[in-house]
């Protein structure tokens, strides 16, 4: 299987090369995307095979100048291949349906390379190959983020994105170096043989958090994500949010759980939990304030990544505290959420892309009422929204139920400070979950419900064919994954053993359980129960109530009927994106995100409408664009003084160097 996957990576790279000429014709572009669909399917199949079969390793005949490139496929990487494959397949299918002519090469060529980079990262078995895939992934996606580089904000997004990518790469390289020690052998096997201890372990964790964490969107290095993900084409945004962040989390998990060895103290998990909780809250809150659909979804990605990070941190802490069963529980929650989030976030981004294509806007305030014009998109998106809002019995609830169970058991670690921190983290995780529900209601309700806010939204067109399939498939998957979490956990068992050294607590096939004899969650039974209840209600109502409904103008508290030139009434009398976010902006935004708002109220007798002005600053971005450039500029000013020297003074530098060196020699000789 590994060989197949390696060949696939090579084939994808070749496809990227071939895309240059193929981009000139629609058929060629379709061919490239079809190839990527197939690649996605093969990746997912490879993941399944890797989970069912045993691990495999491979040494390429070529590689960096100092040795062969090592590849391996074990349970962990196999598990992460699943979301990658699913996301890539769906996104490519979506893109395939969106091809209506020649595609700019800059949008087509990097796409297969991007996929290849992610796959290579998952398959790598030495530091160099890992970084190679990681950075190739970043570089290719950077081209895609910059595809529309005429807009200044896209250029800014691309710049920040690539700088962060380079920063993360350097941090990971340093981490590899620390792991390898003086030996300089960056093979994973060598890392496992000599796990770091004491300050080295802490430093490696910090570097990995800076490197992989920044890529995954963990606060406070998340600022690039809401900028870059929306700037890319929709199918790319879907994979960046759905799969690329997961690849980064894989790198994190690979280092922390596998390479650093099991003999690590429990507090190593604390920073992960703290950063995860912070990311979850910040992301979910921002999702409630953003007014651009894709940015909103990107922020919800930050929230979910935070939840996954909490799970990973808990697993690390439990393992350090020698509670393997609980570690498996937390790790299972994290892995399950990785898969679930990949699926429903891909779905949501694709839906946002379809809305952008159909209604020509990403701004919530220019959409509305689309459920009438784009029913397939709307209902498919509803499944994703419900999952993202953690509603039973959908996929999001299953993994977040497990995560909460793990959090509720965190006190067993025993350390008082950790217990208090964990209790706080529990509250924050619950807060983030509820905030996400609010954000999702805001997203779906404002985009698909209500009245069209612009003529273009009123005349939106939904595309069928491949695009429709690309939306329905992940929607169905979201429901299915929600119904059989137990099955998925059994599938993930080898990965859990690798991470936690134990299997997840056994529940029966259809359930997931907190612990032996602890609380359990039977999605199918719950679904059946709810369905039965609804059926009962429908039956009773049918028996008593008259059938059918009467249609009339909206009552709207008796406000006057709309004028004829506005058949649905004035769109401006609907809640706006800013207005819907107002309660949360006032409750949390003002304190956490320096949010501000003000109403421009015209004087009496003036017919201008009152306008609600609102906005916020992400403190992390402010820090990034405030002090850092200031310090850099101060240093540069000093450095420029050197540049402005005259020749005589430059010679003075040389002369000084000579004299200094001679004096040093004389001193050394003297001793």
């Amino acid at each position: 299987m590994l060989t197949v996957l390696v060949l696939l990576v090579g084939a994808l790279a070749a496809l990227g090369g071939a895309a240059m000429p193929l981009a000139r014709s629609a058929a060629g572009a379709r061919l490239v995307h079809a190839g990527c669909v197939a690649a996605g399917v093969v990746l997912a199949a490879g993941g399944l095979a890797g989970l069912l079969g045993g691990p495999a390793a491979l040494e390429l005949p070529f590689g960096p100048p100092w040795g062969p490139a090592r590849l391996a496929l074990d349970a962990l990487s196999s598990w992460f291949l699943l979301p990658l494959g699913i996301a890539v397949a769906c996104a490519s299918l979506f893109a395939l349906g969106g091809v209506h002519g020649a595609v700019p090469a800059r949008e087509l060529v990097p796409w297969p390379l991007f996929v290849a980079g992610m796959a290579l990262t998952l398959l790598a078995a030495d530091g160099f190959t890992l970084l190679l895939g990681f950075e190739a992934m970043s570089l290719a996606s950077w081209v895609l983020v910059a595809h529309d580089h005429a807009q200044a904000e896209n250029r800014r997004a691309a710049r920040i994105y690539l700088v962060f990518a380079g920063f993360g790469g350097l941090a990971l390289i340093l981490a590899c170096g620390l792991m390898a020690g003086g030996a300089g052998d960056v093979a994973f096997a060598a890392f496992r043989d000599a796990p770091p201890e004491g300050w080295r372990a802490a430093a490696v964790l910090a570097l990995v958090l800076a490197g992989a964490g920044s890529k995954a969107g963990l606060a406070p290095l998340h600022v690039w994500l809401p900028l870059a993900h929306p700037a890319a084409p929709s199918h790319v945004s879907a994979v960046m949010s759905g799969a690329m962040t997961k690849v980064a989390l894989y790198v994190l998990a690979r280092f922390v759980f596998d390479l650093m060895g099991p003999a690590q103290p429990f507090w190593l998990g604390a920073p992960l939990i703290a950063l995860g909780a912070a990311s979850a809250v910040i992301g979910a809150l921002r999702a409630n304030l953003e007014e651009d659909t894709k940015t909103l979804l990107a922020c919800s990605t930050i929230e979910n990544v935070g939840l996954i990070a909490i799970g990973l941190g808990l697993a690390l802490a439990f393992r350090g505290a020698d509670l393997p069963a609980l570690a498996a529980l937390a790790a299972g929650a994290a892995l399950l959420h990785v898969l679930n989030h990949a699926v429903f976030k891909t779905l949501l981004f694709l839906a946002a892309g379809e809305v952008l294509h159909g209604a020509l806007s990403r701004r919530i305030d220019r959409l509305g009422g689309l459920i009438h014009r784009m029913p397939w998109t709307a209902w498919a998106a509803l499944a994703g929204v419900a999952a993202a809002a953690a509603l039973p019995p959908l996929s999001g609830f299953a993994s977040e139920w497990l995560l909460l169970q793990a959090l509720l058991s965190a006190w067993r670690v025993g350390d008082l400070a950790f217990q208090m921190g964990a209790a706080a983290a529990t509250a924050l995780a619950a807060l983030a979950t509820a905030l996400a529900a609010a954000a999702m209601v805001r997203f779906w309700g404002l985009v698909f419900l209500g009245r069209p806010r612009t003529p273009r939204a009123a005349g939106a067109e939904e595309s069928g064919g491949a695009v429709r399939i690309a939306l329905v498939v992940p929607a169905v998957l979201t429901v299915l994954l929600g119904l059989v979490p137990g099955l998925m956990l059994d599938l993930a068992e080898p990965a859990l053993r690798l991470m936690a050294g134990a299997a997840a607590p056994r529940a029966d096939l259809l359930a997931v359980g907190a612990a032996e004899g602890g609380a359990r969650y039977w999605p199918i039974l719950v679904a059946a129960l709810v369905a039965a209840a609804i059926g009962l209600v429908v039956w009773l109502v049918r028996r008593r109530a008259p059938a059918g409904v009467a249609r009339g103008p909206a009552w709207d508290c008796g406000f006057m009927a709309p004028p004829h030139h506005l058949p649905f009434g004035d769109p401006a009398t609907q809640p706006s994106a800013a207005g819907f976010g107002q309660p949360l902006r006032r409750m949390l935004g003002e304190s956490l995100l320096a949010a501000r708002e003000g109403v421009a109220m015209p004087p009496p007798g003036d017919t201008r409408p009152a306008v609600l002005e609102s906005g916020f600053h992400d403190p992390a971005l402010a820090a990034l664009e405030g002090p850092l450039p200031r310090w850099r500029e101060a240093l540069a000013t000093q450095a420029e003084k050197l540049r402005d020297l005259s020749i005589r003074q430059c010679l003075g530098l040389t002369f000084g160097a000579v004299v200094l060196m001679l004096a040093l020699l004389a001193w050394l000789e003297g001793r």
Binding site: I371, Q419, A434, G517, A531, I534, L536, V537, A545, R551
Partner: protein, 319 residues
């Protein structure tokens, strides 16, 4: 044998809850009226309202989508499912293994989201306003609930309601400060979830302050009946939940035969009546607070719950 009893208990429980819901609401209203010195409507008034509404054909706005028609059924269904899980007079009902506190919270969230979406469907100001407020308040209420669950889970070792009730029934836990704090947190959440005073006023339609009612302004006929019934179910559910956890006495042990249930039934009726009385007294004693003071109210509840958990760690040397 025990299996059959548990099935029977479950069915009885469901019937009981479904029947009790409108009655309980009526009783609370009646009690409030009495305390305010009015004669008040007959306790069965809600039942009459429901039957009347059911017979009317609903009027939908032109641009209303299928959401408006599906949401009330989903809301009632979710509320019924949740209510079916909360133990009332007996433990060990057939759904007991399912009865997970967090799942109940999830099912309540389903109902909430359905209502919010229904409120946004037509695209009126008040619907959106109510939805925004509802979801925002829930965002603060949810952590408070989970933190209370944390305390219960630590004491009982699980989040399964039936097991928690059992653990408290068996006692041995005694009265604890942290338990009291958790109770306060849960009460606050319950008040918010059921849109009672001081968070919301179920008896008013004053646009600027209403939360719950604003979302169903467009509903009429059977839809309105379903929305009201869902609200009644939620109230019953919450009172039953509080009763099961904090007043566990009198519950029939699991697997017990019907003749044991009688005690449990009586105890349950007494408990619910007492809680209704307390609720009525509380509501008639205080005034509704401004909308943007609600977060502070819930935030305080959250902090109390957190305090309870921390106190638990410190006091009982779990660390």
């Amino acid at each position: 044998m025990a299996a059959i009893w548990s099935v029977l208990a479950q069915l009885l429980h469901i019937a009981l809850i479904l029947a009790a819901a409108p009655l309980l609401t009526g009783v609370v209203r009646w009690l409030k009226a009495r305390m305010m010195g009015r004669r008040g409507p007959h306790p069965l008034q809600p039942v009459r309202d429901l039957t009347k509404l059911l017979r009317k054909r609903p009027v939908l706005a032109e641009n209303a989508s299928a959401i408006s028609r599906a949401a009330p059924y989903v809301a009632v269904g979710a509320a019924m499912a949740a209510a079916a899980l909360v133990p009332s007079f007996a433990r060990g009902m057939v759904f007991a293994p399912l009865a997970d506190l967090i799942l109940v919270a999830g099912l309540l969230a389903v109902g909430r989201v359905a209502m919010a979406l229904a409120g946004m469907d037509v695209g009126t100001q008040f619907g959106g306003l109510g939805a925004a407020r509802e979801m925002s308040f829930a965002a603060i209420a949810e952590p408070a609930l989970v933190i209370a669950a944390l305390t219960l889970a630590i004491l009982a070792g699980t989040t399964n309601l039936d097991a928690i009730a059992g653990a408290f029934r068996e006692g041995g836990l005694g009265l604890r400060v942290s338990l009291g704090l958790a109770l306060v947190a849960l009460l606050a959440v319950a008040v918010a979830e059921n849109a009672r005073i001081p968070v919301d006023n179920p008896a008013t339609h004053l646009e600027l302050t209403m939360v719950h009612e604003a979302m169903i302004l467009e509903a009429s006929g059977r839809h309105l009946a379903l929305w009201d019934y869902a609200a009644m179910l939620r109230l019953t559910l919450w009172l039953a939940l509080l009763a099961a956890v904090f007043l566990p006495f009198g519950q029939a042990p699991s697997g017990s035969a019907p003749h044991v249930w009688v005690v449990g039934l009586l105890a349950w009726v007494v408990k619910m009546g007492g809680l209704a009385l307390a609720l009525a007294g509380f509501e008639s004693a205080i005034a509704k607070m401004r909308v943007f003071r609600v977060p502070e109210f819930l935030g305080a509840a959250l902090l109390l719950g957190l305090l309870g958990a921390v106190y638990l760690f410190v006091s009982t040397g779990l660390s």
